[in-house]
Each structure stands twice: as C-alpha cells, then as structure tokens.
Symmetry: C2
Amino acid sequence: MATTPRIVEVRANILKKNDLLARELRDRFHTAGVLVVSIVSSPGAGKTTLLERTLARMASHTRAAALVGDLQTDNDARRLASTGVPVRQITTGTVCHLDAEMVGGALDAWACEGLPIEALDILFIENVGNLVCPASYDLGEALRVVLLSVTEGEDKPLKYPTIFNSADLAVITKIDLADIVGLQRDAVYGAINHVRPGLEVLEVSARTEAGLDSWIARLHAANVRTQRT
Amino acid sequence: MATTPRIVEVRANILKKNDLLARELRDRFHTAGVLVVSIVSSPGAGKTTLLERTLARMASHTRAAALVGDLQTDNDARRLASTGVPVRQITTGTVCHLDAEMVGGALDAWACEGLPIEALDILFIENVGNLVCPASYDLGEALRVVLLSVTEGEDKPLKYPTIFNSADLAVITKIDLADIVGLQRDAVYGAINHVRPGLEVLEVSARTEAGLDSWIARLHAANVRTQRT
C-alpha cells in the first residue's frame, strides 16, 4: 500500500501535463479555424467504418484529414487513406488511449511534410478502441463523439459513465441491426440520459447509410460555427 | 520527457507486485482444487450473457461462483446472482482492469462470510470490458478466455494482440449473427492464428445456445484436470 500515494501523484502529473498540452492544441485549432472531432468507442463499434463513409462524403467539398490511434497495425489508417484524404497513424503500443502529446507530434510531422492544420477545415481523431482510458485525456478537440453500437447492450452508458460524461455527442451505430438484436430504445436513451442528461444523440448505420445525412449536417453546422468564431 | 523513466519504474513495480500476488493466488487455487476461469473482452461482447447461460447449466451439478469487475453499477452481478450461484461485485471506479489484489480481497471477504474457495469447483472472474488493460494483469487464473463477438470485426486480434496472446482460449460470441453481419470466418481465424498460432477457438451463441455444449464440456474437462493434479 505504501506505493499508492506515489502512483496517484504520478498519474495526477501526467493528467496535468496533458491538460496543459491540450489547452495549447485547442488554441492552435481555434487560431487555424479547424474543427477537431474526436471519436471514441469500444473496439468494433464502428469508428473506422463511420469515418470511411464520412470522409468519402466530405472529400469533394471539405478539406478533411484524420489521425488514427491504434495499439498495433495500420489497418484503420490504410482503410481511411483509401478515401483520398490525408491520414496519419499513431501507434500507441501498449498504451490504451491517445494523449495530447501524441496528437501534437503527429500534427508537427504533418506540418514538416507540407500539411499545416491551417490547410484543413476538419480534423478527425479516431482514438484507440476503449471505453475507459480515453475519457481522462483531453485532446484539444471541439467535439468529442462517443459511439455505441446496438450490439453492445443498452446498459453501457451506465457501466462506462465517464466517457459518456466527457462526450459532446453520442452516436448509436449499426442501427440496421436494431430489430435483429431486439434493441430497447427506451433503455439505451434512458441510460444515456441518466449519465449525461440532455446529451445529443444520433442514430446511424454506416452499412445502409441511414442517419448519415444528419450526422454530416451536424458536423457541417459545427464547422461553420468554428470558422465564424 | 523527464518524468517518463519514473512512470515506467512505477508501472514496473505495480506489475511486479501484481505478479507476486497472482502467484500466491494460483497456489491458493491449486491447493483448493478450484478451477479459476477469467473472461475478458470488449464491452458488450457478451461476457455476462455467456456466464448467465453457463452458470444456469452448471448450477445443479457444479459448485460454481463468480467475481464480476465493473467500473460502475452492479448490473452484471445482479444478473449473474439470479442464477442462484454466489456472485461478488468488484467495483473498480476509474481503473480499467481487475488486479490480483482486488481478487484476493474479494476471496477474503467471501471466506469471512463462510464461503471459502475450498467449497467451490469452479470460479469465474469476469473482467472489466476492455481489450487493452486486463492483458497485463495476471489474476492467478488457470484459464483465461478472450471473447470476440462477430459484430466487432475480424481484425480485432491483430489490433489488440496482447490480450489474445495472453489468453488460453478464444470464444467467438453472437455466432447467430454471423451471416447477418457477413462474418468472414477465414479472416477471423487467420487473425487469431497470426497473433497466437494454435490458440483453441470455440464458437457460441448465448441466445440460440449454439456451441454451449462444447463450451461447457471444455470447462468440465479443465475442471477434471484441476482436481486431479
């Protein structure tokens, strides 16, 4: 037990350092007029598939790019790169979340390669698939989106409240499977509202593209606000 | 950057302490002749539902019990308790995994309440829903089972290799949805074999009960081995 206070202290220092870096990132994004949207969820909730569809729809009229966090493999980065937008992989190894330093480093590398963030309208950050660790790490994003697939069960917001508390928008994914898995809409909306009353919720299916128009419209509205301020 | 070595050192100390406690637990389980099975997966892959079905089938002829880790809520513990077996909740707060100390503490509490582990044939430990953090924490279990639901995508073993590497058995869940989501069996088996060649794989559906007989038989076989050694 003697080591516990020391661990807590180190963790507090890490989070404090992250908060300072995230504040710098937020200022940098604001000055550049770029909307930064981070996406968090369980593994397999559909972050990459939703982003693929989103980037494909946005590519012709919006200057978009994506940072993709993964423990291992660049599978997701390769999938997203096929949409034609700039994509950069952040490999975290055994670390269960992205942090502001990793994001800053990736942006610096892009700047060296001739892609400053000022050249973007919107930057997506796909976090590591994890409903716990990413909650504590501010990445300087303007909009944190938590995905919840209908196959995961209605109670996940109650069981992982911190991530839902820290989100600005919840997106229920794989909605085409809602009837097949017997989704209880009242239960899932009730759980979200219990944890974070009033949190905006969208429903999408990347497969059937149901709800994608509303999702894209939501991003465009946030983007217009970013560029006005 | 100056703090990094200190953090690594603290983390190494935590893991070393855990390994020592896990070794003690393993000895304790071995002496008691109880088979300890831990279950890890993403949130919503079906740990609790599989355990519900398993305990319901085992209750009449096997002395089973379950420890359930969750950040918040005792939903899972209450669901499992309805099967009639002893269930104990471990609430981890913001911690993204169980550790050996938490397991030891729960077993001590049970012993005080008149349930020593010697009174059990099999103990299940349901970890926090997370494919990253639980990988590094030995709980003294004899069998670590990683669940992967067909709705999560075939590439998850490649993206979360450590948890698959540390498992003794992989169970593909929600197999009743395989056709609906277009599961590519070659891809998922290929991914598992790439990360952990030769890892035993079972397929189950807790909803249709497909594959449950094989799963229960696998547990009984391990249990017989435990009680013989």
